[in-house]
């Protein structure tokens, strides 16, 4: 290609690029918008209602206005066990600023009799919810344990952390983000 032809080609591409930016502009904003519930950052957190071993009921949508950390776990999962002390520590530190921790036990793939000793062993004071039917695991498309969802006060998922154990600094930075 001759230099002059090449320069004209480059300019045409750049003009077409500018036109494409204008044509493809989306005034509605990005896809998280619209309030579609999905277990992904930018989407509304899928709602659920679960019970604690003591029979107390928690509904996620009733916690709007609070920053929520949902942690999906099981007693047999080593990283879940490893991150529990850090979650408890930061819950103690941040609960007065509006942090709610919902530790959803994937009961459908766990030993229900191992849950109470687990709570005792780690001295957990935040609500432990039992996902006995796998409803939450399904709604949150659970593929790995632990999985954590950091939900802003408006009910939108701010960040998803798959796998663990989460370090204290990771928890602290993500909790600070959702408390803002």
């Amino acid at each position: 290609m001759q230099p002059i032809q090449r320069r004209i080609f480059f300019i045409l591409i750049l003009v077409a690029g500018l036109a494409w930016i204008g044509i493809s502009a989306d005034p509605a904003g990005n896809a998280g918008a619209g309030g579609v519930p999905a277990p992904q950052a930018g989407f509304l957190a899928p709602d659920f209602t679960l019970k604690t071993p003591e029979g107390e009921t928690f509904t996620l949508s009733k916690l709007q206005g609070k920053a929520v950390l949902i942690n999906l776990w099981a007693t047999w999962c080593p990283p879940c066990r490893a991150e529990m002390p850090a979650i408890q520590k930061l819950y103690d530190e941040y609960k007065d600023r509006g942090l709610v921790v919902l530790a959803v036990n994937s009961t459908v793939q766990d030993d229900p009799f191992a849950i109470a000793p687990f709570i005792e062993e780690y001295r957990l004071t935040f609500p432990i919810l039992l996902d006995e039917t796998g409803e939450v695991s399904q709604a949150y498309q659970l593929r790995s344990l632990p999985s954590s969802y950091f939900i802003r006060r408006d009910g939108i998922i701010n960040e998803v952390v798959i796998g663990g154990p989460m370090s204290e600094a990771l928890l602290r930075t993500r909790i600070e983000d959702i408390l803002e």
């Binding site: 990005n30 896809a31 989460m166 204290e168």
Partner: protein, 244 residues
């Protein structure tokens, strides 16, 4: 098929795809280093120090930006959490270290960039595969026949578009005739990648919006495309006397 792939490489296993891409990219790039006037040893060291700087720089800069969190638990600096990472900071550190190493070893910048291009092109394929596995970089809702169901909606398969574009870029570069002018190979990669991002970003459902629906990633891609063209012209002119 896509579901099987997503199950197999569900996060955090999607990172395996990046490691595999880096390894394959290195292997392919090594076969062409001589063509760009760089020895295999210099190339391997360049990539090694660059990657090391990326990993260490990304973590250190993240910690510096979140000093209160790390000062309360300093051991978190060594935690195996890939989320504690500043990828922009890591990239800056990698480029700086690679530049310093290249200068010390007297590797000309444009030759080094040309030698790195196949590595970067394969890495781009790995990144799009990891997006597909993790369901990130997802498309906007649509009713087109080839839509995929992701995050509870039928969406543009933006990760597959990205994969096809990166494979096409890799193919075009791999079968390109050797260019005697250093830098043009890399600049062709930069232009193709920017053009693909500029076009495909329109189908993304998670684009950051600048104003009035204008996507900031498209604006950045356009600027990089313009810069690639400008530098390409400059290189073409400045090296025309040396070209055979």
């Amino acid at each position: 098929m896509i579901e099987l792939f997503r199950s197999l490489f569900a996060p955090p296993r999607h990172l395996i795809l990046l490691v595999l891409a880096a390894w394959l990219g290195m292997t392919l790039a090594e076969k062409r280093t001589a063509r760009h006037g760089v020895t295999n040893e210099a190339f391997n060291n360049l990539v090694f120090y660059g990657l090391l700087a990326y990993i260490l720089g990304g973590r250190i800069l993240y910690a510096v930006n979140h000093l209160p969190a790390f000062s309360q638990s300093p051991l978190s600096l060594f935690a195996l959490n890939p989320d504690l990472f500043d990828s922009f900071g890591g990239s800056v550190a990698a480029v700086l270290v690679a530049l310093i190493y290249g200068q010390r070893q007297k590797i000309p910048l444009w030759n080094a960039l040309d030698a790195l291009t196949p590595f970067l092109a394969v890495l781009a394929v790995g990144i799009s595969l990891s997006h597909l596995a993790a369901g990130t970089a997802f498309g906007k809702p649509t009713d087109i026949p080839w839509a995929i169901v992701l995050w509870n909606a039928k969406r543009h398969p933006s990760q597959i578009y990205e994969l096809l574009a990166s494979l096409l870029t890799l193919g075009l570069l791999w079968f390109q005739r050797p260019n005697p002018r250093p830098g043009l190979f890399f600049l062709t990669f930069a232009a193709l990648t920017s053009a693909a991002r500029l076009f495909l970003e329109a189908f993304r459902g998670d684009s950051p919006i600048l104003f009035n629906g204008i996507r900031s990633t498209q604006v950045l891609a356009w600027a990089l495309l313009a810069a690639s063209f400008a530098v390409y012209e400059w290189r073409k002119q400045s090296t025309s006397g040396n070209a055979s």
